[in-house]
Amino acid sequence: MGMHEENHYDGFIDKAKHGLQNARVETYKGLVFACFDDDAPNLEEFLGDFRWYLDVILDQTEEGTEFLGGCIKNMYNANWKFGAENFVGDSLHVGWTHASGAKAVSLGGEVPEYMPVDPESFHANANGHGWEGGTDGVGALELISSGNPRLVEYFESEREKMAKRLGELRARKLYGSVISATVFPNFSFLPGINTMRTWLPKGPRQFELRAWTMVNKNMPDDIREIVQNACAMTFSPSGIFEMDDGENWENSTVSNEGVVTRKQSLHYGLRAGTSHRNDPELPGNISKPMYSDVNQLAFYQRWLDYLSAESWDDIPKVR
């Protein structure tokens, strides 16, 4: 590092004490993570069992994935954890919050069950990361298709190849279902809809949402176009689904600051205590069906782990 008129600093500065802090950088199947703490666990350990779920979107093809050009950014007057929590486990908000979007994409017809209440739908969490959703394999793809069969046809034709890499369960039942997920603490995505985003805190009452659209590198142009337009139509500031989410996140932030509200604890108990680690197929802590607070509790448990720890030794390596 050098600087302008540096000789004037002779005897006044020890440059070794003023260097840039090194960021530890590790990657997982194309995603780049950075960390400023040399003592933090490595990325594989940090992601733990959640890698199995990340692979559903990151490892469908030999060629891997890429982002479409550009990033959509916008601001919310809300606490960033409402976004992260929404994606980590809030299956229950969908039916009510997104009734308007679901009616719109059904083009005036009867609204189909994009998220059927399937007894096999589930909450999965590992180390504070969480995945919630169904197993029908098509809900998300139909949601973003608006009647155009091309996208579903394309993925149906890809499933066999996908199954060779990911197995039948992930290739045919998980991918394509309506699912949301958060990598602790503030990176979320929607498999099938393909929005990837980070919730960047700008203080306790404001965050910036940065959103990208991810596609497989080998996707044909017309499929890329459908996915790109679908992200703008559904989950983006102009999206007919996300518009109503912003209302929730901002109002939750405001209402929870009230003197009376703060004296009353919220109920986060749906299916609390029901998750277990012995599902024959699914790694992590599993609770079925998806209407549940299990992942939200795990997310906030992990947040508590981090905030109350004196050192990394105080934080359980596996949660």
Binding site: K73, A104, T213, Q228, N229, M233, P237, I240, G246, E247
Partner: protein, 181 residues
């Protein structure tokens, strides 16, 4: 006007003024339709094959700037008539919570420049728009953008065949973009 061409050369100053006046009237009517959420009227002002495009913007170094296409970058809007109608269907669903109470919109259209086109029956128009939104008690958002339109001249009025909206913001300073520009 910044360019001249054959069609333009044939127009008298009075004809140019009349055309400019008619385009301004059209934009004012469109702004009123959007302010009043009168989407039936707005859709009638769009051609059946309309392309309505609003790219996302990023802060880039000048050397990294390049010509954008709808496919090259993420967009706020990349719409045809059907997809615009689908967006409006959300509003009319009776369950669009972010729209009840309603957003109070105000569209101001300025800096209108009309350029007759070489394509028979079309003109290209540049304008600026300032869109103000106010909601609930104190929510307030201002949005400035450049608009580049191709208008089709039909039976004494116009239809919007193409619109590119270039916002001046890179990070949108609001929780949503629940407005057309």
């Amino acid at each position: 006007m910044t360019t001249t061409n054959d069609t333009q050369n044939k127009m008298t100053e009075t004809e140019k003024m009349l055309l400019w006046y008619q385009v301004n009237q059209f934009y004012n009517q469109e702004a009123r339709a959007l302010d009043e959420e009168d989407y039936e009227t707005w859709f009638s002002m769009l051609s059946d094959d309309v392309h309505y495009w609003m790219p996302g913007r990023e802060s880039l170094f000048r050397k990294d700037e390049k010509e954008e296409t709808p496919a090259s970058n993420m967009n706020h809007y990349n719409e045809n008539l059907q997809s615009l109608q689908l967006r409006v269907a959300r509003l009319h669903s009776g369950a669009a919570w972010a729209e009840d109470p309603r957003t109070r919109h105000r569209h101001l259209i300025t800096n209108v420049e009309v350029e007759p086109s070489d394509t028979e029956g079309e003109i290209s128009v540049r304008s600026n728009t300032l869109v103000y939104r106010n909601r609930l008690e104190r929510e307030e958002f201002w949005l400035l953008a450049k608009r580049e339109d191709i208008l089709r001249v039909t039976e004494g009025t116009f239809q919007i065949a193409k619109r590119k909206i270039t916002p001046d913001c890179s990070c949108l300073l609001s929780k949503n973009l629940n407005v057309f520009l």
